[in-house]
Symmetry: C2
Subunit: 662 residues, 2 copies
Amino acid sequence: MTMQITTPAPQAPAVPGRGRFRPLGQNEVRITGGFWGERQAVNGRNTLAHIEARLESEGWLPNFDLAAGDGLPERRRGREFSDSEVYKYLEALAWEIGRTDDPALEERFRAVVARVGRAQEADGYLNTHFGRPGQKPRWSDLEWGHELYCAGHLIQAAVARERTRPGSDDGLLAIARSAADLVCDEFGPGGHVKICGHAEIEVALAELFRLTGERRYIDQARVFVERHGRGTLRDIEWGRKYFQDDIAVRDADVLRGHAVRANYLAAGATDVAVETHDAALLKALRRQWDRTAARRTYITGGQGSHHQDEAFGEDWELPPDRAYSETCAGIGSIMFTWRLLLASGDSRHADLIERTLYNVVATSPAPDGRAFYYANTLHQRVPGTPADAHATSPRASSSLRAPWFEVSCCPPNVARTLASLDAYVATKDDDGVQLLQYAPSIVRTTLSDGRTVAFDVATDYPADGRVTITITEGAGAPWTLSARVPDWADGAVLRVVTADSTQQRQVPSGLVEVRHGFRPGDLVELELPMKPRVSSPDDRIDAIRGCVAIERGPEVLALESVDLEPTASGDIARIAVAPGAVPFERDGRVWIAVVPLGPFDDGWPYTGSRADAPGAASVDVPLVRYHDWAQRGPSTMRVWIPASSDSAPRADAGLPLGDGWT
Amino acid sequence: MTMQITTPAPQAPAVPGRGRFRPLGQNEVRITGGFWGERQAVNGRNTLAHIEARLESEGWLPNFDLAAGDGLPERRRGREFSDSEVYKYLEALAWEIGRTDDPALEERFRAVVARVGRAQEADGYLNTHFGRPGQKPRWSDLEWGHELYCAGHLIQAAVARERTRPGSDDGLLAIARSAADLVCDEFGPGGHVKICGHAEIEVALAELFRLTGERRYIDQARVFVERHGRGTLRDIEWGRKYFQDDIAVRDADVLRGHAVRANYLAAGATDVAVETHDAALLKALRRQWDRTAARRTYITGGQGSHHQDEAFGEDWELPPDRAYSETCAGIGSIMFTWRLLLASGDSRHADLIERTLYNVVATSPAPDGRAFYYANTLHQRVPGTPADAHATSPRASSSLRAPWFEVSCCPPNVARTLASLDAYVATKDDDGVQLLQYAPSIVRTTLSDGRTVAFDVATDYPADGRVTITITEGAGAPWTLSARVPDWADGAVLRVVTADSTQQRQVPSGLVEVRHGFRPGDLVELELPMKPRVSSPDDRIDAIRGCVAIERGPEVLALESVDLEPTASGDIARIAVAPGAVPFERDGRVWIAVVPLGPFDDGWPYTGSRADAPGAASVDVPLVRYHDWAQRGPSTMRVWIPASSDSAPRADAGLPLGDGWT
């Protein structure tokens, strides 16, 4: 086996060989601060060490030492998929090292890789849960065993490492290729006609192909994708849709079953479609994304409304109080959506990514990066109990963030996402650069004519809606700088200030393009309207009929009980938005007028009493950013607030421009 | 051990030693036809044989043969609680034999008892899943093992048998007492300080005490009840409330956790409170019932809104589409509620029992009694797939009735409930008889003065609201005949026709009492208003805000897609009740005017479009009795129907009397 690296690839998690947009990696975009910069700093400073400490204390990393020695299966600890958390941690470390070049992290990375490598068997097999005397045989439990899933995360870690530190001598890529080759041997022609119950190997093999140019990897990824829907896995209580083994990927209309699995598979299938020029498959995936976004996605971008099977519900089944909205499903959605964005150039994909980043990914970790939400409810009916800082939560749906879980997929998934987040900020095509997410950042890349262009982005987004892009390199022929105007940004204004002129115009949502022979010092400024707005749901979403949500920019807001005392009853079950109320900003927060509901009687609850306290005075209450909730002790919370029985309130139709723009 | 039968007890499942009302058993009340008589006949004719065939073919009955021989654990089949289904089947047989005196059933009963008895060990232990070499030790998995639960169902079967065939020589009572004695030895003073993860032993031991007068049984029942809430079981993902081991029974305010377990425990705790004169405990249970009925019960009487843990949700968490509403939870609710009714005489308890019987218990079995609902959703969003008549469903929440389940608690639970249903029709106290449920029936019992009174009940209820009670025995001093006017029956009219006079008056809901020196031929007639009515939910039940349900008498109605073609779009997601619509009856069905919702766009669903097709013509659609849904092939269905954005419709306030009553 020879190492065959094709071209220097962007330091990015997904690097398609073709598509409408090409990603800019960490080597081309760097977030320098702000909302995401702070979270990346906490991730690097606290979360990574927190994860490694837990992997150690829970035994999930020591399992590899036991495998290398003679300690399995007796002394093994953790669930069947615990190896994958080590690999996701390695992937997070790889991105963070790429981002920061931290020598201490480099040392930790190499130490973990060495322990992992010693557990690999001679034929490439690497899993601490299967195959030894006293363990189940290899590949004997594809439904639940997560063997290929674990291999996939190993491969993704190796790809991340090779992209950020090409040719490193740590050995991880060789470990991963050896494992990948075994997978191809075992599941390729003449091998097991099965898939993994948890998709992941598909996206990993596709990326390994992109990294190495080795065709058998994408061929095998395609085999796995095409094998879904043939019922090669056993039926289970929740049906084969749980593993997406109910309908062929190219025949499905919508994501279904386990929400993480569904998104990971869709991401891998998109990679396969792109790399194998399969337009029909790509079309099927776009169709699935459209319907999933329109009918199976929470306002937060979260996905999955079943606790039981961590799964999508049917269309319109989006209960806020039983929202599962697993953090990993949000991350999976970003993976899938990002790949469609690169393939299609459709900025709606970037809209959903932004929504999911601010309202799922940013919601999971505590401010100190040492506790996490696994599930992300949109309605907390009873105050939770604080988690023990040293315990491991048996509950995925904890009502307060927990430091670790018995199933702890989410913390390292958040870590690898935040550490690689720079790569989701901007893309390029033959004609220029697209700025998709707004953060203080620097962008520097080469255009197709070989010219280097660069710009700085200055913004307090999302606290403030102004985004100032200053060209720093790139004199010469015109090129196109595109900037995304989010779908919610009615009335956005674009200003272009060059040496020659200043132009200003209102711009619709989508990608607004500025084509110009930019020179250093030229400015492109975008003013996004950040006035809080009232959002009403499609009437088919039964669970929130008659309710409204308040949003501001990309952030969903919520009513949290700790904000209600002593200004209101404190019982969020008895509050409605006041008739005609319009949200407003004061003291850096968004407020809304509410009225009490009631009085209620406590008898049989279907006797028709409609309870709007007649003539009750309204009171203004502040809202919390959804991602900031549950940081002030146990509380109740709701995103969707009943509208009083008067017609639903609306924000003013005409949104005024910000200061200085009129 | 000597057999000690106290007094000839009513042939009824629960026979408290004291309380406001005393049950009348099968020997005193007999349903002779009508809605429930037909279902009892199907149960006796089809369901019992269906169950025994499945118990045989699934191996759950042969497990006892294996235990008696040498075939365990290798050849054992079924889940850890499969023994209990055999016992529930025996209980159902016992009631059915008591009802019908069928010699073929008697033969089957004795044959099954003999097989069960041979599996019992010398010390009384009887469980095919524990205690042998290669099995877990006895009592080693109280959280999940269901050992005491199985013992409880064995005891309940024996109690049913002894009540219906006192002194029978089949041996079941001795088997059960031996098992019960072992439980008392092992879990009494100095024994294991644990409870069973699934309550049931409590209610069983209480009833065995009532049957035998043996105090240790009620003492042990009390120990188990009091031991709940001390955390003697391990914490699990869903918390100890799953087993009601989170809060002491006397301290709790509401039922919580697994809905069957919660109700079974509450039933047993009520028995303990009654038999040990524990007024504080009884008060706590009544408080729990009140809040559970007001805040955690579906309009069908169904309970349990979580699929994941088959559990109650928080207050007001009652999603119709994710209603679990397990059939067994409905039966458990009837068990608990019936005991409170006997203790308190509060007719609201009989109201809930009626609601649960018509809309949960009657919904589960197919018309032929050979397929069942385990879970009872109130909103089916996509058509289901017909179950294979010979298969065993891995899914509790199947969208169509299934012949059997891997966890098949519900079919035998329905069977024992229907076979013992006569015992829920009427009660007595020192002053007379209370008629609580309306069915064609004969009632004959003795009053405290030793006099025999009897009456016949003639009715087509619930098809028709007239109930005619004809006195057949009971001349002499006045006594009180009470009849329940359901909570929904605004405008009920009572007519009393005696030799001397005819009196007629409108009567409020509750127990209406007629005290008279009745003579044979005297009539008491009740006319219950059966005009369909529109019911609106308490505004705190978020999931059905803005919706209405249509009810008629005790029956909840539903909109089923098979009724919509070709009169409407067929898509129940796009229909609302027309403004001001009033349900009406035509051709034996209830109809309501609906309007289409829409048009909708299929983009991001939180952009505020409110969709009432302006000026759309309404169309009348028929409703189906909820218990009759899904009998015409795969369909979609909803109980709660959006009200159009005009104000919610209401039935006319003044309900006219039926024909002949004005």
